[in-house]
């Protein structure tokens, strides 16, 4: 796997803040950040159903493997030098249910969180 494309929601302040943070992190696998439902996203992945990418963070490898929601978050951690160990820890059978719950909670409330943290435009 030589790169991961991250489809993120540019309307969400929290996501933009996370993207800035990601840009600063040392990586083991390069991350390409593309806005959801943008022309670029459709050009890169012509056969993908782009509707669900609005609701959940989506990560796609250069070989076409698609990861949604919690798995996408784990793949992003896996790509980072400092957090690869954490991706395995959080993906372990003991912690995966908690990871899923926390990730979907944050995803569902991302606009509220952005507003509360004054991250909105």
């Amino acid at each position: 796997m030589s790169s991961l494309t991250v489809l993120y929601d540019p309307l969400c302040g929290l996501c933009r803040r996370v993207d800035e943070w990601l840009a600063e992190q040392p990586k083991l696998v390069p991350l390409i950040l593309v806005a959801v439902k943008s022309d670029e996203a459709r050009r890169r992945f012509p056969n993908l159903d782009h509707e669900p990418t609005v609701n959940d963070l989506t990560v796609i490898s250069d070989q076409g493997a698609v990861y949604y929601g919690p798995k996408a978050w784990l793949m992003v951690l896996w790509a980072l030098c400092r957090y690869r160990e954490w991706s395995y820890r959080l993906a372990s059978p003991e912690l995966l249910p908690t990871t899923r719950r926390v990730v979907s909670l944050i995803s569902q409330h991302r606009y509220q969180i952005s507003r509360a943290a004054h991250l909105s435009r």
Partner: protein, 133 residues
């Protein structure tokens, strides 16, 4: 020679001998490990191995030297042996601690190195065709 002098000499002989033996073991067995960590780069592995052993010698011999002084007089050979056993016991504990610390460093280096090639933590949800970038 008084009992004190003999005790000191025996203490030095035992501690230095032990230090050399542990350092030699570390040097010999640690090499394989380091070569693996540095992906077969033997020159780098030998260099790091040597530097680790030098640090090991400095700390251990430093402790042996600092702990030499007894601070009281020995009346008999029996007291000499008792004092010796305490001193050598301390040296052994320090050596053991240092040795495990070295093993910890080795295993951490190895884990870091192997992490780089580890597969993704989760299986993909689906597959899609990848178009032009």
């Amino acid at each position: 020679m008084s009992v004190e002098i003999i005790t000191y000499l025996v203490y030095l002989a035992i501690s230095i001998g032990l230090t050399i033996w542990v350092a030699h073991t570390l040097h010999k067995s640690g090499r394989v490990f380091l070569v693996d960590v540095f992906h077969g780069n033997e020159q780098l592995a030998d260099s790091v191995n040597h530097l680790l052993v030098v640090g090991f010698y400095l700390i251990n011999l430093g402790y042996v030297s600092l702990a030499l002084k007894l601070g009281y007089n020995l009346a008999s050979a029996k007291e000499g042996i008792e004092a010796l056993s305490v001193k050598v016991g301390m040296v052994l504990l320090v050596l053991g601690g240092m040795h495990f610390f070295n093993l910890f460093i080795f295993s951490r280096m190895r884990r870091r190195a192997t992490l780089r090639n580890n597969p993704p933590p989760v299986a993909p949800d689906a597959f899609t065709a990848v178009g032009a970038a």
